[in-house]
């Protein structure tokens, strides 16, 4: 028989269990298998009741974020062989309420995300007859890194502030706010600053740096937050020294 590896999968079935417990499954250790393949194998062959989220299997949709041996990972990009000889412990993303097995409740994040208006805000749209909003490659470079965020929430599961203070708006929401702030077509900086300059916004961050370390898309939310802090402070001084200037 081919080599196998043990997955210790967190199960939480609210109709059966008061709290999550681990269940072990042996899955084939194929060298081209990622943790998500192993979960799919369990669901297909061993226990069809296992619940988890996934969609694209290629690091784009951001659905399959889970804790793998205590680290937030995209399970579609985490190879089993990296953990040989195992066991591999698979848990739902940390700090989120668990709905069932590996599925977490993310409504809170969705409302935080919406609060920072992650879309292009215009004071006035120009008429279509004037054509598109042009952008130079350099202007694109300013925000491209932040636009790579896929909302997989690995950064929330890594951030101790998120764990300790449920009101903290969190790394991805701030990085995505920065993605639009830095966009030359956007005019919504002030509206976003109102939300982000609060205590629960950028100032909640202690620059632990874990978000950037775990980000599977190299977005660098920690960098975005610190740059935002500096901007907030310089804006404040400017408005203090030149109250007549444009805010």
């Amino acid at each position: 028989m081919a080599k196998t590896i043990t997955l210790e999968v967190a199960r939480y079935r609210p109709e059966q269990e008061g709290e999550p417990a681990f269940e072990n499954f042996d899955v084939p250790l194929n060298k081209d298998w990622v943790v998500l393949d192993a979960l799919n194998y369990i669901k297909d062959k061993l226990d069809g009741s296992l619940s988890y989220r996934w969609s694209c299997r290629m690091g784009v949709c951001g659905s399959c974020g889970m804790m793998v041996n205590g680290e937030p990972k995209l399970t579609c990009a985490t190879f089993l062989t990296a953990y040989d000889p195992g066991p591999i412990r698979v848990e739902p993303l940390r700090y989120f309420p668990i709905v069932r097995d590996l599925v977490v409740e993310i409504t809170d994040f969705m409302s935080k995300l919406k609060a920072v208006k992650p879309w292009i805000v215009r004071d006035e749209e120009k008429p279509i007859s004037e054509g598109e909003y042009l952008q130079t490659p350099r202007q694109l470079d300013n925000f491209k890194q932040f636009s790579m965020c896929i909302n997989c929430l690995c950064c929330y599961a890594a951030c101790p502030v998120v764990g300790l203070d449920q009101h903290f708006i969190g790394p991805a929401a701030i990085a995505l706010a920065q993605r639009y702030n830095e966009d030359s077509r956007d005019q919504g900086k002030e509206e976003r600053m109102d939300v982000l300059s609060q205590h629960d916004g950028i100032w909640g961050c202690t620059f632990n740096g874990e978000c950037t370390r775990v980000c599977p898309k190299n977005v660098d939310p920690a960098g975005a937050i610190q740059q935002y802090k500096i901007k907030a402070v310089t804006d404040w001084y400017k408005s203090l020294l030149m109250p007549w200037g444009k805010k």
């Binding site: 609210p14 668990i98 101790p160 610190q226």
Partner: protein, 139 residues
């Protein structure tokens, strides 16, 4: 909690895990992070110490000598050495984080981290040497 977990269709029972007070002892990385946060207390301490020194200097010679005698006690020396190590740790991590918080772009390209950290370290050394020269050169 009672073990009655009847499943209700429209009221999902979410499970929330409490974060332990000792979460930062689980990983070396988080422990270093908390050490860094604590190191800001050492920074406050040295500011207070400097103010105390200036204050006792203003109170006249006897008071200043008293201050110096207090500083020479082994207990204070040990305490200050520990506090100084914390301040060193604080400064080094601070300078290492600077490039992350203040990326500099030249010609559309981000400068490598060391090019931002290095001038910070250089300024630190120069200022320290100048201060040391003032204090030690006076005698």
């Amino acid at each position: 909690m009672k073990q009655s977990h009847a499943y209700t269709l429209y009221h999902p029972k979410w499970y929330r895990r409490r974060v332990s007070t000792w979460w930062w002892t689980q990983q070396w990385r988080s422990f270093k992070f908390i050490l860094r946060e604590l190191s800001s207390l050492a920074v406050i301490y040295f500011v207070a110490l400097l103010l105390w020194l200036l204050w006792s200097l203003g109170q006249g010679e006897a008071s200043y000598r008293n201050f110096l005698a207090w500083m020479e006690s082994p207990l204070m020396i040990a305490f200050n050495v520990i506090a100084f190590l914390f301040v060193l740790y604080h400064s080094i991590t601070w300078f290492n984080l600077a490039p992350k918080a203040m990326p500099v772009r030249v010609g559309g390209k981000r400068l490598p981290d060391w090019m931002i950290a290095a001038p910070n370290y250089a300024a630190w050394v120069v200022i320290s040497v100048v201060i040391a020269w003032f204090i030690l050169g006076g005698n």
